[in-house]
Each structure stands twice: as structure tokens, then as C-alpha cells.
Assembly symmetry: C2
Homo-oligomer: 326 residues x 2
């Protein structure tokens, strides 16, 4: 995936290595199945957006002792990993990044329970920190569950509004990303307003990030292990792109797009037609502009943080998220 943090020069290679160590240490419980299932997701690469953002936020507010916060940075990745395991079961997804999903490879039970285990381990890490930090982790986790319920209730809801879409991605993606930034700020001993700035930065960057992810579902990525195109469409998961397309397509196109979104057993042909309709209605550009808008809000919002190399890296991360650099 082109968004891999390792492709980014964020200046935190060593710190991310420490986090990786923590991730691996915490999933190692002597039960080989749990290790295998968790590593299937973790080793798939992933973007480490959450730990990366945590570390930059921590450093932007002059946090120094990485060894004290590395477990916490890892906790956000463990929650993310558990969420992927459960989401793939919920969505019935077969592939992720071109590899079999964990529940396809290891079965639903192993995947579901490893998710439970990872959540518990993340809370265990949280429990080593003060209540303010624990609350951040808990709020994000509860929001994730609520967001997933709302999202599943809106599968094949062709009347999904932009507002509701934003509510879902705020809870499911941007909330946990915001939580990472906020926690980094808290651990650095930032002031209330600095912490709020970082939380807002994470929230807006997270929205931009999810919008970009939704765009990639339509336009695809040119890598060997790229995300399969049209997954959202074939699962009937409406995004800002299909919402926009439904609004701006011709009546005939709209009916065809609806038909594909409402169908459970789509052919490649059907999904491909839906993608064409989305592209023809300029919905990709619309979404990209929207993503840029949120990334800009994020970038603008941290102007009031003290200037530093890390503040620039945060801005760079937000710009990278929406794909301005590629």
C-alpha cells in the first residue's frame, strides 16, 4: 500500500521499531493460534497510521521518553487489528490487501476471539496509564462499536446522506485516529488547548484518510498487493462517492447504480459499470476535494502548536494521507 508509513520520511523509524516490538510482545500469549491470526493482519503491513500519529503528536509537544509511551502507541494498533478481524467477519470479506482475510484462513471463531483478545490486551495496556488516557482508549473503542452498528444498518441504504456517512466514518475511522493524536499530546504533558488541537487534527485527518480509502476502492492502487477494487460497491456499502453519484447520475444510470448497490451477488461486470457511473459523475473529484478540505482543516488547525520539525511532519502526514504527494 502506498500509504505505508515506512515510505514516509517522518523521522520516527527507531520509535516505530520500538512500537513494533511492543505489538509483537503483547500478542505473544503462548497460544500459537492467537499469534498466527494477529500476525496475519499485523504482518500484512498496514500503515501504522495510529502509532505514527501518536508518536508525532507526542514529539510535537516535546515528549521525550519513547520507551514509556511505546506500549500505548502499540495499543492503538492492537485495537485497529482487532477491528479489522471483526470487520472482515461482519463484511464477509474474502480478501484484504490481496491476501485471504483472517476469518477465511483461520475460521470465524479464531478470528473473532483473537479480536476479543487484542481488545483486552489494548485495555490492559491502557490500564497501565492514567485515567485520562484510559478514557481516550475507551471512548474510541465504544465509538468503534457504535459506528460499526450504524454502518451495518446502512448497508444497501441508497438514501444514506452525506451527514450520516460522515458520522459513520468519524466513529469508525477518524475517532480512533483522533484518539491516537490526543493520547500522544496527553502523554507529552500538553496543555488542554494543545491536546484539543491534536485531537481535532487527528479527527479531520482521519476523515480525510477514510475518504481517500473510499476513493481507492473506486480507482484502485497500482501495486501487487493492492486493495481489490469495488469491494464497497459489491458489499452495498455506500460511501461519499456513491452518494454523490446517485445524486448526479442520469435517471438511467442512477437506476443501474442502485441495482448494483442493492444486489448481493454482483458480477464483475455490474461492479465495473457502477465504477464507471461513479467516475462519469465526477464523484472521484468531488470526494478528493472533500478529502482535501478535511486535510486542509487538519493542517490549518495545528498552526497554533509551537513550531518544530514534528509539527511539519504532522502536516506532511496529513498531506500524504490525501495523496497530494503521489
Amino acid at each position: 500500500m502506498t500509504l505505508d508509513m515506512l515510505d514516509l520520511d517522518l523521522g520516527i523509524y527507531e520509535e516505530l521499531d520500538l512500537v513494533e516490538e511492543q505489538i509483537r510482545e503483547r500478542i505473544d500469549c503462548g497460544i500459537s493460534t492467537i499469534n498466527e491470526v494477529a500476525r496475519h493482519v499485523i504482518d500484512a503491513g498496514g500503515k501504522r497510521i495510529r502509532p505514527g500519529l501518536f508518536l508525532l503528536s507526542f514529539k510535537a509537544l516535546r515528549g521525550e521518553d519513547i520507551s514509556k509511551v511505546a506500549p500505548l502507541a502499540a495499543a492503538f494498533e492492537l485495537i485497529h487489528t482487532g477491528t479489522i478481524l471483526h470487520d472482515d467477519i461482519n463484511d464477509g470479506s474474502i480478501l484484504r490487501h490481496g491476501k485471504l482475510t483472517a476469518h477465511q484462513k483461520f475460521g470465524t471463531t479464531n478470528s473473532l476471539v483473537t479480536g476479543d483478545y487484542l481488545f483486552a490486551k489494548a485495555f490492559e495496556i491502557g490500564s497501565e496509564y492514567k485515567k485520562e488516557i484510559r478514557d481516550v482508549i475507551l471512548d474510541a473503542s465504544i465509538g468503534l462499536a457504535v459506528g460499526e452498528i450504524i454502518q451495518s444498518q446502512n448497508i444497501m441504504n441508497i438514501d444514506l446522506t452525506e451527514k450520516k456517512y460522515l458520522d459513520i466514518i468519524e466513529k469508525k475511522t477518524a475517532g480512533p485516529i483522533s484518539a491516537s493524536a490526543k493520547a500522544g499530546g496527553i502523554m507529552a504533558g500538553g496543555t488542554g488547548s494543545q491536546i484539543k488541537i491534536l485531537a481535532d487534527f487527528g479527527l479531520n485527518m482521519g476523515i480525510a484518510f477514510q475518504i481517500m480509502d473510499d476513493i481507492l476502492d473506486v480507482i484502485g492502487i497500482n501495486t501487487k498487493t493492492g486493495k481489490s477494487v469495488g469491494k464497497d460497491i459489491s458489499e452495498g456499502k455506500l460511501t461519499i462517492l456513491s452518494i454523490h453519484a446517485l445524486k448526479h447520475a442520469s435517471p438511467l444510470q442512477r437506476e443501474r447504480l442502485k441495482e448494483v448497490l442493492l444486489k448481493t451477488d454482483n458480477t464483475n461486470q455490474g461492479v465495473s459499470e457502477a465504477i464507471d457511473i461513479i467516475k462519469n459523475t465526477q464523484s472521484v473529484d468531488f470526494a478528493r476535494n472533500m478529502g482535501k478540505k478535511y486535510a486542509d482543516i487538519a493542517i490549518g488547525s495545528i498552526d497554533n502548536l509551537p513550531d518544530s520539525k514534528w509539527k511539519s511532519k504532522l502536516k506532511y502526514l496529513a498531506e500524504f494521507t490525501i495523496g497530494r504527494n503521489y
Copy 2:
């Protein structure tokens, strides 16, 4: 279910009412699906063994302010409810207490995510208490996941040993029950050795409780909403009863029992034959004696607690668990 705490005169009716209030308050998040799914399990009655044991342990060590601990007692029931939701998905169970399981009624996603939500809410409650309490909740939750993995790995393992069976039920049932007792003791300000006594009491009572549950799967219960008989057998889940039966059956019976345990699409006839083999090998008596042994250990272990009405109630609960009173 005959083990309903309300059938028991434990002298904690009002306290359990406070816990019920907390349970209902904590699951109420404005998302009606989460409420409905959680209440489907919670309103099915259940035994409230965990909050009941928590409260008795708290009172046995002269804990007084119930309002301060009612949320914590509720947390153990929330974890139990989340576990039921996830276990029923893992086992593919259709019925529980004669009612449709939640995932059958509301779908896998709603059931899975409500489980995640309930775990997060339980950790949220835990986070309001000191680290010692949080550790108790976390250890139980992590043990639950590990136990579920080991259990699922041993589905249809006709070589399952008594030792491994005990390890599974210790992690999956007795551990969380022990945690409730331990947390009650901690909250009452008990000494280290008193808390250890309560934890041991809960552990042994929990093992006895699960053995009784396994017996009921074979002998059934005479109530309208009783547990469906032979569920463990038809799912290939070996218990102390089938382990004992496999060891003591005639070669012919053993082959037949193996056949049923290893079959995924058993007929009622097959399950019924397996039950007969289990009964004919005196495996019910064997299991009952084993359960009694653990209940006796539990009862004996609290002799060193200060005498009180609540200590007697704890003993009464352990006796009731193994069914001496009915």
C-alpha cells in the same frame, strides 16, 4: 432455569436490583440495536451468579456501600453477556434457554458488535476503579479469550483429557466467576489472604458450576424454557461426561459415541444414543461427584473467613450451584 438467583434466598434482593439498574443504564447508548441485542440475552433471565457472588463476597468482608460497587458487579454481568453473544456465534448455536440465540434473531454483525460494545463498557466501568480491580477484570477477559480458543481447538477432539477439560472450564467459566468474588473482596478492603480465599472459593465454585451445566446438557431440566439437551454432544464439545463415558464404555458403545461426537449433522436419534451411553457408563454420577468435590473444596476454603450471615450464604450458593438442594 432453576439456578436463577431469584429462586435463592441470598438476602441480596435490593442489592441485585441496584445491579440490574446499572446493567440497564450502561447498555443504554441511544443505539436501539445494541439495547435490543444486549437485552435479548440479559432479559432471558440468566443466573446473575457473578454479580450475586460479587455482592456476597463484598458483604462477607463487611463491605457496606453498595452504591459504590453496584457498577462493578454489573461489569461482570456485561462481560458474561458479551461472552454469550460471541460464544453463540462461535458455536453456531440456534437456541439458548429455549429462545433463539441473538445472532439468529439479530444477525451475526449486530451480535458480534454488541459483544464488543459490552466488553468495552465493562472495561469502562473497571476504569472507574483502582488498578487492582482493573487487573482482575482484564485477567478474566484475557483468560476468557484464551479459554475459548483452546475450547474451539478441542471441538471433536475425542482424546481430550480431564486435565485439559478442567483447564478450559477454569479459563472460560471459573476464572470470571473467581474474578467476581475476588473483586468483591478487594472492594470490601479485605486482607490479601481473605481476598485469596474468596478467589479460590469462586474458582472452585465456578468449576462445580460448569460441571453442573455440563450435566444438565445430558440430563436436561424440567422447565418450559430449559436448556436444549445434547447441545454439547451435537456440537462435538467434549465434557467431563463424554470423556468419562469414552473411557468406560464397551468397545461398541465407544465407537458409537465417537461417531456421534465427530459428526457435524447429527440426528436426534444419534444424540439420544450418545446420551444413553453417557448415562449407562455412570458418567452423570461421576461428574456429579466431581462437581460436589469442587463445591466441597469451595465451601471448606472459606472456613477461615470471619463468621457471618454472608459467609453462610456463600456456602449456600456453592451448595445450590451443584444442585444439592434440588
